[in-house]
């Protein structure tokens, strides 16, 4: 089966997000200002409502209720509103359970948020686009949703290969299905018109050295995906079937372990704020 056939034949996929790809694109323009952001968010009432809801949550604790997007941007700043749009959008896709992979409801979302927070720390110096590492973290596993809905019971074959041949999960997917969840995720993100800065690192997250561009971002996902598991955020069967290569991203052990601790603290705060919301 090809990835494009999988996407075409899967009718349970969520609709394409409209706001987020455009937001990532306009954030690349240094002339983008708060009015541009507000205009874009206003085109989707669900995203707008989500941004206002999170702006009023314990994560930000405004002194008076925020009822208007302009107020939200003025109070929190463009960069924080960018992160909120990311959270609101990805939450809709990532919150469901993926029983074929033994991932509980909320498990993939928590993992993705942990990867986003770790990316924010370890990859901030490898791109000029401030919010990009966070976006990559939140979207890096979106292909798992596609494989769950499109492959169903056939996904059991992947675990059989992992467990009998001691193979990493993405290699076992490739052997059983003909592609892995990273390639599936990148393909659907391309169809949803996300820019290449998002699609390429996600496609090459398991083999960053083969990426035609953005090798360091792909390498950062490779490391952050593992690091999220260290803080207990990697749900699913055979979750540690990873082949790690330290040449893919330059970071020393102590820096990485401190980043893991820092991300754990941020994750606990973020979860509390979102749960109380």
């Amino acid at each position: 089966m090809k990835i494009t056939e999988l996407i075409e034949n899967t009718d349970t996929l969520p609709p394409a997000p409209e706001v987020l790809p455009k937001l990532v694109e306009i954030m690349k323009d240094p002339d983008t200002d708060s009015a541009d952001i507000v205009d874009l968010i206003q085109t989707d009432p669900a995203v707008m409502a989500g941004v206002l809801r999170l702006s009023n949550s314990g994560a930000y604790s405004p002194t008076s209720p925020v009822t208007d997007l302009n107020d939200a941007v003025a109070m929190l700043g463009v960069k924080e509103v960018y992160r909120i749009v990311n959270l609101v959008t990805s939450g809709e896709y990532l919150d469901g359970a993926l029983p074929s992979m033994d991932i509980r409801k909320g498990g993939l979302w928590e993992h993705s948020l942990a990867v986003a927070l770790i990316m924010d720390i370890i990859a901030k110096d490898v791109t000029e686009l401030e919010g990009l590492p966070y976006t990559l973290g939140l979207l890096h596993d979106i292909g798992k949703i596609l494989l769950h809905h499109g492959c169903g019971e056939k996904y059991t074959d992947v675990f059989k290969i992992v467990e009998t041949e001691r193979m990493s999960i993405e290699k076992a997917e490739d052997k059983a299905l003909g592609f892995d969840h990273a390639a599936a995720g990148a393909t659907i993100l391309e169809q949803w018109n996300f820019p290449e800065e998002v699609c390429i690192p996600i496609r090459y997250q398991y083999h960053p050295n083969e990426a035609p561009k953005y090798k360091e971002l792909a390498g950062a996902i490779h490391v952050a995906n593992w690091a999220a598991a260290v803080i207990g955020c990697n749900d699913g069967r055979d979750a540690w079937a990873l082949e790690m290569d330290s040449s893919m991203f330059s970071i020393d052990e102590a820096t990485l372990e401190m980043a893991i601790i820092e991300a754990k603290i941020k994750l606990e705060k973020a979860k509390k704020a979102i749960e109380n919301n």
């Binding site: 990697n234 540690w240 401190m258």
Partner: protein, 173 residues
């Protein structure tokens, strides 16, 4: 009163230990649980004579990484967390000679440099410290590529272990 819940069931309390946390109890109605033990190592210790038990969820092997973090959250590290749990158990009248332990977790990647083998480093650190303190480990389930969930029933010493590949139960009493 047949059909009514028994008193222990009625008053059953759940204590959840997060990543880098510890809990001890002598309340026979308490079940102490920890979820998503990946590369982290969980240690369950039980003294059946006093019905005292504890559970710790160790995240990293060595507190020298950050003495400041170790002071705020000692249970995050093996070298500061295990002695803390041991002291807390002694505070509830548990005795070293009667303590029995289960050690589980320490999942590890299929391949990678030492930096990525935190599971293996955690296992080594935990074994060394437990041996130094002198607690008897009666059961272990370590390594592999799966996460684990562990529950301890403080009233009975029964431990249940869950992984995506299956569940098991055993007693530390």
């Amino acid at each position: 009163m047949s059909g009514s819940p028994s008193l222990p069931t009625f008053f059953s309390q759940k204590v959840v230990v997060g990543v880098g946390d510890v809990a001890v109890s002598n309340n026979p109605n308490v079940v102490i649980s920890t979820f998503a033990l990946g590369s982290c190592v969980g240690i369950v210790v039980y003294d059946s004579a006093m019905k005292v038990g504890g559970l710790i969820h160790i995240m990293l092997p060595d507190s020298s990484l950050s003495p400041d973090k170790a002071q705020k959250q000692p249970a995050m590290f093996a070298d500061t967390g295990i002695p803390l749990m041991f002291r807390n158990l002694m505070g509830l009248k548990a005795e070293r000679s009667r303590m029995k332990a289960f050690v589980g977790g320490g999942a590890s990647v299929i391949s990678g440099s030492d930096m990525f083998k935190i599971g293996e480093r955690n296992i080594a650190a935990v074994k060394k410290i437990i041996n130094t303190i002198g607690i008897s480990v009666v059961k272990a389930d370590l390594g592999g590529v799966n996460n684990r969930t562990v529950h301890l029933n403080v009233g009975t010493g029964e431990v249940s272990l869950k992984t995506p590949l299956g569940n098991s139960k055993f007693s530390l009493a």
